[in-house]
């Protein structure tokens, strides 16, 4: 996936693009910047106290002003501490509130974006956009900007103070600064690249470990432990090499910077020494230049390092904005929203009752990212309460029709009508609140079984829940569990088998009592006896409901009102079981194939 850390350079670090989010916290931002600058001014002033102490007290051999001196110093210290507290709190709040807003916006957007977005991007990728990109952006807006303001203004004020105190000395001291800046820029760039390589190797090692653990059954049964170990050690060795070389670079960098600050100190000693040899008065000045010489380089490094990091956040900003700006192909029109409300503020009072007649009218469809037309001028009327089965080989595109009914996608041409009205004329919320969906891999959330069942109907009482459970014959599953309805399902619902999860998700759909039901049938992972139970549950839930069944086993759909046969993504045949068998077309072949072998086997046996 596109998780690589490429560098995207945005003008002004992308801050203008983030302005709509920052705007809300303008006042905090101003407070933060002002407090930061005041803090740095104080910081740059401290050496002046040292100078005064040496020049006045020591130089003039008097402690007449000592109480005043201490008083002023303490006042400034207290002021600075207060300013610092304000600064840190404003900065933290901006960061955290921005994070929160960005996450909420992204999450809300994801509840509305077309489902095709989820087909194009995997969950891990999207999750990283919501959780980690937002964090890095918040950090940029708050701490990175703050650090630059903070240390940047320190450098500026310190230089100003030096120039005022002794112009000539200041110039001498600043001689080596350009060199320090150049070295920092060069090394920052190099280290950015090296660190990225180290991170990539690190994630390779993590996935090696993951493979070694999750693939343990295969590794052991193939007896390839040693081979896997050997390959792993190659990776850890590469990691070792790369990390050490990164460390060498950064060691060289710090050493060079140490050398430069020593150089500055030497210049101060040399020039300052000769300049001050005439008298004590200047010794204080001399000493404060020495402290500036030693203390100025770190802020410069910090500023440059922050700028590098700010540039690196560009890619996160891009990706985040791309997420929240993805409109997707399916959305409600203005008029529809005016009448029915949007997903988060639905106007239930305007929702018409859905009866359950579905019609495909001259529908032509191709997937947004596909080339091929998968439906061409397709017409089908599904009467209220009838059932449609969709059959075909794995990967033949059986979900297309369902995607259209659910309006996860919209027809390229033609219309899908529900109760005689184009579904685009009603809101997505209206449609979805009337549709039930049972997935092939039933997805249960963490939480109790009751929580999961209530997902279909929030205000369902225990009686309602129990009667739905009895209806599909799921009480057997419940009995097995220690805490009954209150049993906590772990990650992915580990206590239950696939068949059991399937049944629970059918109960969930039944509780929701949808007018239209979509069923993606269980595959072969469920054994015959369990399949039988699932089948029974399905027949209960589809009764008197318009239903679309994606069938993986033909045995289950013989009674469907219409059977659609899909091949290579196209609907090649439709009719009832009897009609299709008579036609001897694709369906007939598909149907007979299951038993081919039984017959060949019977034949060979008779021949023996």
């Amino acid at each position: 996936m596109d998780n690589s850390e490429k560098i995207v350079k945005l003008p002004l670090f992308g801050l203008p693009k983030l302005w709509p989010f920052i705007k809300k916290y303008k006042a905090m931002y101003i407070r933060m910047v002002i407090a930061g600058i005041i803090y740095s001014v104080f910081d740059a002033l401290y050496p002046l106290f040292n100078r005064y102490a040496i020049n006045h007290f020591v130089g003039e051999n008097t402690i007449d002003t000592l109480p005043v001196f201490v008083g002023i110093y303490l006042i400034i210290t207290i002021l600075q501490c207060a300013v610092n507290y304000i600064n840190v709190m404003q900065c933290s709040k901006i960061e955290l509130y921005m994070d929160r807003d960005l996450r909420n916006l992204a999450f809300a957007h994801l509840q509305e974006v077309s489902l095709s977005y989820f087909n194009r991007n995997n969950v891990g990728y999207i999750h990283a956009r919501v959780m980690s990109d937002t964090g890095r952006i918040g950090e940029l807006v708050a701490w990175r900007v703050m650090d630059v303001v903070w240390w940047g203004s320190y450098v500026i004020f310190a230089i100003v103070v030096m120039l005022i105190i002794d112009f000539k000395m200041a110039i001498y001291l600043l001689l080596l600064f350009p060199l320090a800046i150049i070295i920092t820029l060069v090394f920052e760039r190099r280290l950015l690249v090296l660190n990225r390589q180290v991170r990539e190797l690190n994630s390779k090692i993590t996935s090696d470990i993951n493979e070694g653990i999750t693939g343990v059954k295969s590794i052991k049964s193939l007896a390839i432990e040693d081979k896997i170990e050997r390959e792993y050690k190659e990776d850890t060795y590469r990691m070792y090499k790369k990390s050490v070389s990164t460390a060498r670079h950064s060691a060289l960098f710090t050493s060079l910077m140490t050398l430069i600050s020593t150089g500055s100190l030497a210049i101060v000693l040399w020039k300052g020494g000769s300049l001050t040899s005439q008298g004590l008065v200047q010794i204080g000045t001399f000493s404060i230049f020495m402290s500036y010489a030693l203390g100025m380089l770190e802020p410069i490094q910090i500023v440059i390092n922050n700028i590098t990091r700010m540039i690196a956040v560009g890619v996160n900003i891009e990706r985040y904005l791309e997420l929240v700006n993805t409109q997707g192909e399916v959305f409600d029109s203005e008029e529809v929203i005016t009448k029915y409300g949007d997903s988060f503020n639905p106007k239930y009072e305007n929702f018409e009752e859905l009866k359950g007649e579905v019609e495909f009218k001259d529908v032509t469809f191709k997937y947004p990212d596909g080339e091929e037309i998968v439906l061409s001028h397709f017409n089908l009327l599904v009467k209220k309460g009838s059932s449609v089965a969709i059959v075909g080989e794995t990967g033949a595109g059986k979900s297309t029709l369902v995607n259209l009914v659910c309006r996860f996608f919209e027809p390229t041409e033609g219309q899908v009508l529900i109760d005689g009205k184009d579904i685009k004329q009603r809101s997505l919320k209206w449609l979805h609140s009337n549709i039930g969906y049972v997935l092939q891999n039933p997805y249960l959330f963490s939480g109790t079984i009751r929580d999961n069942l209530k997902y279909g109907k929030e205000d369902a009482t225990d009686d309602e829940i129990m009667s739905a459970i009895m209806q599909v014959g799921a009480e057997r599953i419940l009995k097995k569990l220690k805490d009954g309805l209150d049993t906590e399902l772990g990650e992915g619902g580990d206590y239950l088998s696939t068949g059991e999860k399937q049944i629970i998700s059918i109960v969930r759909a039944l509780l929701a009592d949808p007018k239209i039901l979509i069923l993606d049938e269980a595959t072969s992972s469920v054994d015959s006896l369990a399949e039988n139970a699932v089948q029974k549950a399905i027949s209960v839930v589809t009764e008197d409901r318009t239903s679309f069944i994606i069938a993986h086993r033909l045995s289950t759909i013989i009674d469907a009102d219409v059977i659609l046969v899909v091949s290579d993504g196209k609907i090649v045949d439709n009719g009832t079981h009897k009609e299709l068998m008579k036609k001897k077309g694709e369906y007939y072949t598909l149907y007979m194939r299951q038993f081919e072998e039984l017959e060949t086997w019977n034949d060979t046996r008779t021949n023996k």
């Binding site: 020591v58 959780m131 993590t206 049964s221 979805h432 997805y443 929030e458």
Partner: protein
Amino acid sequence: MFSKIKTINFFLKGSKRYFALAIIFVFLQVIFDLVNPKIMGYTVDYIVGDTSQTPKFILSFLNSLGDRDYVISHIWIISIIVVLIGLLSALSRYFFRVSNSIGGESLAKNMRDNLFSHILHLPYKWNDVNKTGDIIQRCTSDVDTIRNFVQEQLVNLVRMVAMIALALLFMFRIHVVLTLVSCFFIAIVIGYSLSFHGKVGEKFAKVDAEEGRLSSTAQENLEGVRVVRAFGREIFELERFKARNEVYVGHWVEMMSILATFWTISDFIKNALTISILALGAYFTISGQISAGQYVSYIAYVLMIIQPIVELGRVISDMSKSGVSIDRLKYILDSEIEKDPLDAIDFPPFGDVEFKNVSFSYNESLVLDSVNMSIKKGQTVGILGGTGSGKSTSMLLLDGLYDVLDGSITINGVDIKTIKKSELRQHIGFVLQEPYLFSRSLRDNITIASEKTDNDSVENAVKVSSLTSTIEKFKDGYNTFVGERGVTLSGGQRQRTAIAQMLIREPDIMIFDDSLSAVDAKTDASIRKELKRIAKDKTVIIISHRITTLMSADNIYVFDGGKIAESGSHDDLVSQGGIYSKIFDLQRSVQEA
């Protein structure tokens, strides 16, 4: 405590000398750094003309250069000394950093390699009780914690303590009372910082837990997006996410205000120390107890040790957290690895496989209860049974992934317990129901466990597995990268790849654990037909739910509740009218409908 040291010591093999070097260099660096303030002080005193506090050897050195006027006009000599010392400090800093990170990286490599190697050689059952995520965390973040502990914290601690101790020594020699005042402040800062970091650890854990909750709320919502949409629960989801987000941010704001308070107070103590030294120092200088130069260098020392003192508390409290990580790694290393008995033998001449009264349980209840199976050499045997009937477990036992609780499994009369595990597994091919592919190319996956890697063998295995036409369709053919766990392939493609992976090894016993479930009936049949052709003298065991897959087997075992409920040929079983015939009718019923 002692066992922790032992564990660390074990991992430190090979990296100790680098850390020793690092400590030597860090000492040198500290010493060079501490010399500078002295030079500043002597320079000041010399210029002022008060050399009463300057050591003799420095004075005689300066006198050897010339008289005072000469030296002052040639003060660049001192600059050169400063630069030289700076150069030495820079050099020792460089060598410190490099040897320290070589030490740290080889320590990390050592830990990673040892842990992974150990994990690979643990018995299979170890994975039943240990969660993947947890183990990965031990191998990654716990390793980093320990590396950090040694490379950053321990070494830093040495540096800080050396720095503070030496600086204090110099400071005491300048003025005792002044330094006692400094020590007073230092004690306050360290004490405050220690108690603070101890307390704040719990808060951090709380924030972490809250972040985990928020993160998994998002994760579940994204994974279950279709369910959310289909049930129209967007509002509910958004409200829940917002609420958790708010709680999380609230915790952080609270956390930050605690941290900000800490920073503010320690800043204040630092500044209080500085002003005390400035004022008292000025007083002592005027009263002639110390020279101007000593005053200057004393202030420089105070400024140098302030930061390390504040950090000391953090480092010490961080170090205490590392103990937990050491125990977490120790847990892995202490788990017993899979070992063959000393007198284990090679795989015997291949023959019949016999299950004799085999019982097995994962925890309390028996999964297999006195199972008897007799599988003749070269036979094809079918196994049918519901979920949890013990059919797969029996095969895991045969492959030596678990050991029998009771009874025995023999191959050609030899108990498999006495056969070397790797030998046993090399002679048994096991295609899992959900085959695990490795994130590398299709070809590498097929040949991963095989001695033969030539094109003919690969193509042949692929052909038998009905995978040829699929591979031809791939743009990169055999070089197609299958992704993590083989995600880029469909279930059926993964199964067929795993079959090819087994076939190329030509094992004596081939086990298919429901491994044709995701391919259609036609492909299923053609694979089995091909198998028959190429594997005449091999023993084939097929587990399946499909009667059509099983019925041509020489012998079929039906598992029910950990026991063999029925066995015999297809005809026998159908006529018996038991489970098998019931399922057969169920699957056949469609035809007659």
